[in-house]
């Protein structure tokens, strides 16, 4: 039983680390502010939840896992608020999303 819990925890930690690195590469590679916001949201939700789920499987039922669940609740409530405020401030700050040339041509021809 302990081995099974360790295995699940390791899978969660490795998947969370992979998702976090994918999101960080996306922040550097995407061409636009709003697409970078999408990549940052991937880190804030899926990567954070997977790593803390792996730590919960390591901790077992104790006060430590309650604190970990509390961290997940804080992050799940605060990061969408921060992302919404960022997008709203960028719209107010006259940041235009980058559209592709092919999309503009099809919209003109149609």
């Amino acid at each position: 039983m302990n081995t099974v819990l360790d295995l699940i925890s390791w899978i969660c930690l490795l998947a969370g680390g992979t998702v976090i690195i994918i999101g960080a590469v996306g922040i550097n590679r995407f061409p636009d502010f709003f697409t970078r916001l999408h990549a940052a949201s991937v880190i804030d939700t899926l990567g954070c939840m997977l790593i803390i789920l792996g730590l919960i499987f390591q901790a077992g039922l104790s006060i430590v896992s309650i604190k970990l669940v509390l961290i997940v609740f804080f992050i799940l409530f605060t990061t969408p608020t921060a992302a919404h405020a960022l997008a709203k401030a960028a719209i107010h700050g006259k940041i235009k999303p980058v559209l592709s040339n092919s999309g503009e041509q099809t919209s003109k021809s149609s």
Binding site: G54, Q58, L86, A89
Partner: protein
Amino acid sequence: MFIAAMTAVLVAMSLALCRVILGPTIYDRILAINVFGTITVLFIAVFGFLTGRPEFLDIAIVYALISFIVTIAILKFFEYGDMGRGGADRDEMDI
């Protein structure tokens, strides 16, 4: 296995710092700092488990709250140019 998660977290932190330095607009930098704060919470949690002292989770909880407040405060400053704005003309400006 905690070492692998710690390595992933450190690589992601350095990539987020690259965007903080390179970012063309101020909003890119604030976005990268927000992501950096979230990854720092994970770093503190994983570091507590790595060294066998899960008491570090209290610091992680406090850091999560302060990181959110810092993001909102910096955004408010750069959106309105002022931290203390009166309640008269904030009809559609609420966060």
